[in-house]
């Protein structure tokens, strides 16, 4: 007969939270912010093909920090969910808030019931339209969902980076300034991030249905130069 040791629920939650936080802290952080014409997501990502920032739908973008295989699976589920919703109903019925809620439920379930909690934090951004406001939803590893008004940071050093960015950018400004400050906040005072290690995605209206663009390195350099 095997022995069962008693573990208090408090201890269990604490252990799981520590485990998830450690995993997330190993990855690089991401800053997402509103700017005067849309939403920008800035990630430090040495890989050019394993993306942290992606398109979900016409006006919805996704960013994930932590373990790549875990947040990429959430990204795939998000694309599938959005395309199936738009196919079944109409494109305008696809709402980022509903997707953020599903992510929160799934992360919450995995935290309490899964073999191990997911070591990820995700961001869902929605570019506003006549129907819906511009929104940033931040979802943490245990399913906490926050609706952030102007900018949001996920990943290991989120608190420090948040402080730096909040001080540098106290209000919504243009893309170049927002990008430059986001990169500075990610880097901190003691280092600079090379342009090849930056991944930047924006949601901006260009008169087309799809609004997501991943900025090419040339464009990033140009924006950092003028910011």
């Amino acid at each position: 007969m095997s022995n069962y040791f008693y573990v208090s629920p408090e201890q269990l939650i604490k252990d799981r939270a520590e485990f998830a936080q450690k995993g997330i802290a190993r990855g690089r952080s991401i800053v997402a912010s509103l700017y005067d014409r849309g939403v920008v997501m800035v990630a430090e990502n040495p890989s050019a093909s394993l993306n942290k920032v992606s398109e979900i739908y016409d006006r919805i973008a996704f960013a994930g920090a932590g373990k790549y295989n875990e947040y990429d699976r959430l990204r795939e589920a998000g694309v599938r969910w959005a395309d199936s919703m738009g196919f079944t109903y109409a494109r305008e019925d696809v709402d980022a808030r509903a997707l953020a809620n599903y992510y929160a439920q799934h992360l919450g379930d995995m935290f309490t019931e899964g073999q191990k909690p997911l070591e990820v934090e995700v961001l869902v951004a929605q570019l506003g339209s006549d129907l819906r406001p511009t929104k940033l939803f931040r979802i943490l590893y245990e399913g906490t969902i926050a609706d952030e008004p102007r900018f949001s940071v996920i990943g290991g050093d989120a608190e420090v980076i948040r402080e730096r960015f909040a001080q540098a950018v106290p209000e919504v400004v243009d893309l170049a300034t927002t990008l430059r400050q986001a990169v500075a906040a990610l880097a901190g005072p003691d280092r600079t991030i090379p342009i090849s290690d930056l991944e930047v995605g924006i949601l901006e209206d260009r008169g087309e249905r799809r609004t997501f663009t991943r900025l090419a390195p040339d464009r990033i350099a140009e924006l950092l130069g003028e910011g």
Binding site: S49, I56, E76, A77, V79, D83, S84, F87, T88
Partner: protein, 264 residues
């Protein structure tokens, strides 16, 4: 609809068709009632820098069901899909193709090749046409950025996909359009000549096939004309198309409707 998460062994991958089947929202491809609007003429012609397409606007049931249907749609930036056969199935196929190509692109972060898009539609057409009295026959044309050329793919009733290197037609007016195209086609046509030829071929089809709508000068409804080149998909303005058909119409009025002798 909940969050669609799959185990790696059951994952539908970037295929939107696979996803709809896994989720149980796939369209029903099986047999249904007939007697639905159909009949069409759509033409695709290759030219030096890409492809031009022209399609009539009429949906025909027992009577004329609609006079302003758009039978050519942008499947993505460089690809157009035209439909003939059952209107319901055709519109569904167009929507499905658009979603599938975009879904693939978002899932994998790479665009599907033009040939990949053409092949993807084969089993869908096959499944529909072999099990249903509502056949659908599409025509896929696009600009292939890797080959830097326009390409045309046509299908047979069983879903077979064939690349055409000159021109292709679909719909009930095809024999007449094909006749004009065979006489007028040359390799390396310039854009203006290709548009002129496509318009003339469509005029012929509208003139001879009762189920193909010709230019409608009374209502100001003209066939749809599309250009696909390195800049992507663009539809010609209604006035531009109207002017082309007005010129053809005037030539025909001068010859009292006789088309023979030369391409006019």
């Amino acid at each position: 609809m909940g969050l669609p998460l799959f185990r790696p062994t059951q994952d539908p991958g970037p295929s939107f068709l696979g996803l709809t089947e896994a989720l149980g929202v796939a369209p029903e491809w099986g047999p249904t009632a007939s007697d639905v609007p159909h009949a069409t003429t759509v033409i695709a012609v290759r030219y030096a820098q890409g492809v031009v397409m022209a399609g009539d606007r009429q949906a025909t049931g027992a009577y004329i069901a609609s006079r302003d249907v758009k039978k050519i749609g942008a499947a993505d930036r460089f690809t157009a899909l035209a439909i003939s056969g059952s209107a319901a199935r055709g519109v569904e196929l167009l929507k499905f193709a658009q979603l599938s190509f975009e879904h693939y692109e978002k899932m994998t972060d790479t665009a599907l090749s033009l040939e990949g898009k053409a092949n993807y539609l084969s089993p869908i057409i096959q499944r529909n046409n072999l099990s249903s009295p509502l056949p659908v026959l599409p025509l896929l044309a696009g600009y292939d950025p890797t080959q830097r050329a326009g390409r045309i793919f046509e299908y047979d009733g069983a879903g077979g996909c064939y690349e055409r290197y000159d021109f292709a037609t679909i719909g009930s007016g095809s024999p007449f359009a094909e006749g004009a195209l065979r006489l007028g086609f040359q390799s390396d046509l310039d854009l203006e000549a290709a548009l002129e030829l496509a318009a003339l071929a469509l005029y012929e089809a509208g003139d001879n096939d009762p189920s193909t709508g010709g230019p409608d000068f009374v209502r100001g409804i003209f066939p749809m004309m599309v250009v696909l080149d390195a800049a992507g998909f663009r539809e010609l303005a209604g006035d531009d198309v109207g002017e082309r058909f007005r010129r053809i119409n005037e030539r025909r009025a001068e010859s009292r409707g006789v088309a023979g002798g030369a391409l006019r």
